[in-house]
Symmetry: C2
Subunit: 150 residues, 2 copies
Amino acid sequence: MARSEKSFRLEVADRLHSAAIHLLRHARKRDVVAGQGPARLSALSVLVFGGPMALGQLAAAEQVKAPTMSRIVAGLKRSGLAKIEADAKDARRIRVTATAKGKRLLQQARVRRIRLLAETLSGLREAELDTLLRAAELMERAVRQASGRE
Amino acid sequence: MARSEKSFRLEVADRLHSAAIHLLRHARKRDVVAGQGPARLSALSVLVFGGPMALGQLAAAEQVKAPTMSRIVAGLKRSGLAKIEADAKDARRIRVTATAKGKRLLQQARVRRIRLLAETLSGLREAELDTLLRAAELMERAVRQASGRE
DNA sequence: TTGATTACTTAGCAGTGCTAACGAATTATA
DNA sequence: TATAATTCGTTAGCACTGCTAAGTAATCAA
């Protein structure tokens, strides 16, 4: 059967969507161990690897609205995982920074989560892992490009 | 740097986890169009493609606890997307069935969501889409195997 | 028959997403 | 300079989704 460029993309989108949901749902239980929800861990990750930034930047990076990020940051602060300072140039802005405790917790949570996801992948051969790695890169690229288009 | 079998799997798990989160977060806004949250749509999908089933089965299929599924089903019922009947054999059980309206809505929501995810993938070449499709299959397989192991 | 198990519901907590509305600070303009 | 428009973040309030604990009803086992 001849497959058109377009319908093939729809098929890929469909299958990928489903697979991503199932994969994450399977890995999700694990986040609980850190005592922090996935949104907080993800935001903390951005802070740790991207350095201190304003709330708005963080919200954009996480593709979330400002009020949502405001609450996430409040939670991180309450847990001592991030701290908030005033911006020297612009008093409207805040500067969100991961604390040492935040960095530590992130590494631990990350290790646990990733290790358990790796278990899920334990039945795959190395060549198949290569495919997944390339796929992960493609997904990130596609999202970046699409975000730019919006 | 020589990569060991093990650390490579950890790296793949890490990148894949991150990519899946970002991809779904990017596609998520779309579900809103249907006026139903992702958990309801996903459960409805199981009902439509898997046929009527008991609440416990549905919860297991969605990897969710019974109380959570109880509420999801209540929501579907309230919206007229699913109906609940008594089980003939066992009065403790309920039989959850997708209504015609539920099937219709699911198809529409699915088409919308998939079409918009396909847009996200529009910058990729056909060979890259092939990679994603293979990756989706691998993810599903890995999750199935891991679920069996648990 | 009585006790244990199973299926589902209810209640209550926490996290995460949104929009609307607000105050404070900054920038642009008359 | 004074005023208006914009930007940044917060608060309030809604909805959805996940959990555990506890309760009810039905079934199964001893």
